[in-house]
Symmetry: C2
Subunit: 371 residues, 2 copies
């Protein structure tokens, strides 16, 4: 009987990603920042951002290498395998090859979609994230999570694929629709809650600004640093990175079950209300900090007029179970102990199991309103 | 003006992949070989292989964890993003999660497709390759290249994603259609030409067998070893791995431009005729070895009755330029110097630029026949 065996060992070099924040950065990009390897550039962005910053970035990059812009219709609905097929076909037609450098320009959708395209086009090309929304700047552009939505759930098809760099130009926020700010501030509040009491306090102060965005701009890099520190230690979400999902287990389920009518930021904000309540109910969240936590969330909710739609709670639960973070049939959540400190279970894990009953009960805490 | 910068460094642990070859292996798989991490198993295979080995593997795995089989229609036409969407939706419906272990059972299509599904389902799950064709055993199951075909070219969307292991059971070759053998033997001949004069000679001898497959079985592990050694040294095809593409620049272009009517093995066989001729024409291939090379290829061609269809040479050239290996508008090929030794250019590269004229001329060397 034939019997043979061998082991193949694949060495892995560490991967570097630089995050650069500078006012006017899009006007100043140089070859030094992009590197010398690329034969051409391609900018992936949505139709709206293309008009605002696509041309500007293209002109800048054209000074470095041949550059094309490929657009997709704005909105989460574009985040599908079909769009990936369309964009990659276009790239092929434009002569993109394995040394083309991709720029994912725009919000979370452009980043997730562009990053995913970069990860699978000819088995992977170099790319940069160029976030133009607050959400993308403080959260989704950093950490290398890429992907698209499947009909059966959000972000279910994707990869871990690190960009070579993240270029943040806060001046692009001047054109950000005010309805978009909630998406960023929810993640910034989350960052404060999970790791940075000072950031938490500063967000509270920023809410006093008449133009909130001006209060938030100086805090962007703080939020980036938290994200960077967490993903550097635990890229693949073995443990610590799950703290970044605070508010997201309930949040994603709310978002999906609403057919994405509820925005990401609003969903996560409501999700933090629920998950904070769960943490308090489990006796993990210190009472005083829970109070401060919910007070800030309430201020944000009121300032941005976030309303909870009428919920089909069982449906929300079903969507929660479709989420990637569920495993072996149980829901697990990362829960706060204090502002700036997440709970670590006795087994060293940052997530704790949460019963279906508690999940459902937490939804009942939200003041549901008919639209 | 705000200006901030930070560097994120992602450490990377080495990745291991074991290749195990054993007669009757499918009947003997144990938890020790699969590991303990999985919560459930899913087998991805085509309708034909499902009938032959799907049930058998499922029964074996069911003794270890809950196992489902998902099938797709056999053939290269299934290797699309649409099939990926369908398979992953089915996986979700069956309750697969991040700890599900995927088994890509079958030939090259199942391996490429199954591996790609594993690489993007919930951003990546563990998987094993279980090749049941000669081609998949000696070539495509090893090295972590996964992917699907795009409308604009073969294997253009994919990833590098290593399986935890490759399980080869040569007894599954007993049901291999004889028309499939050419696909494997072409790659085995290639392995001999690029790295192993002994393997080359043994394939020559194997052709004397009445049942060629019996002569080839003892050579499978030799071919696996060559593939393993090459990909271990150069997983991402920075240089050495390009030697594995011998015959494939022309071969893929023939295959694509025929609308995949010409099989992979036949295409690569014809591709090696052309690329060997180019190498000889460039004065790289030693005359005596070029003669032996072409003699073995001719023996294989005649034994398997491989005919060159009438070619639209310009169309073939266009498809060659769509190939991933083209870069900066020039065709590059890895070319032999001797049997078992590939040419290294002065710059240390295993690929050399080949002009359009030489490419077209090499196609003229093939005896084209009307079908």
């Amino acid at each position: 009987m034939a019997r043979d065996a061998l082991e193949i060992r694949f060495a892995r070099a560490p991967v570097q990603c630089s995050v650069v924040l500078r006012d006017g950065l899009l006007e100043q990009l140089s070859r030094a920042e992009i590197g010398n390897a690329g034969t051409s550039c391609v900018i992936i962005t949505d139709d709206l951002v293309a008009r605002l910053y696509g041309k500007q970035l293209k002109e800048k990059l054209c000074g470095i290498a041949r550059t094309n812009v490929i657009t997709f219709p704005h909105g989460e609905r574009s985040k599908t395998l079909n769009t990936v097929a369309r964009i990659t076909a276009k790239m092929s037609k434009l002569g993109c090859d394995r040394k083309t450098i991709l720029f994912a320009l725009g919000g979370g959708v452009a980043g997730d979609l562009g990053g995913f395209v970069a990860s699978i086009f000819k088995r992977g090309i170099q790319y940069f994230q160029v976030p133009t929304t607050l959400l993308a700047m403080v959260d989704s552009s950093i950490g290398g999570k890429t992907g698209v939505d499947a009909v059966w759930g959000k972000n279910q098809l994707g990869s871990y694929y690190q960009p070579d760099g993240v270029f943040i130009d806060p001046s692009t926020l001047d054109t950000l629709p005010s309805s978009e700010i909630i998406n960023g501030i929810a993640e910034m509040a989350k960052s404060g809650i999970i790791a940075d009491p000072q950031l938490f306090a500063k967000i509270d102060s920023a809410l006093n600004n008449k133009a909130i965005i001006d209060g938030l701009k100086p805090l962007i890099f703080n939020a980036c640093k938290i994200k960077a520190e967490v993903v550097e230690k635990d890229e693949r979400e073995a443990n610590l990175r799950s703290t970044l999902n605070y508010g997201h287990t309930v949040g994603h389920a709310l978002e999906s079950s609403s057919g994405y009518r509820l925005s990401h930021g609003k969903s996560v904000l409501l999700g933090m209300f629920c998950e904070g309540w769960i943490s308090s109910k489990l006796g993990l969240f210190e009472a005083k900090d829970y109070e401060r936590h919910s007070l800030l969330l309430s201020r944000i909710r009121d300032r941005f007029n976030v309303r909870t739609p009428l919920l089909d709670q069982k449906k929300v639960l079903r969507f929660a179970f479709l989420d990637k973070k569920t495993s072996e049939g149980s829901l697990r959540m990362s829960l706060p102990e204090k502002i700036g400190k997440m709970h670590i279970a006795k087994d060293g894990m940052y997530t704790a199991p949460v019963s279906r009953e508690l999940f459902l009960e937490s939804l009942s805490q939200l003041r549901q309103e008919r639209n």
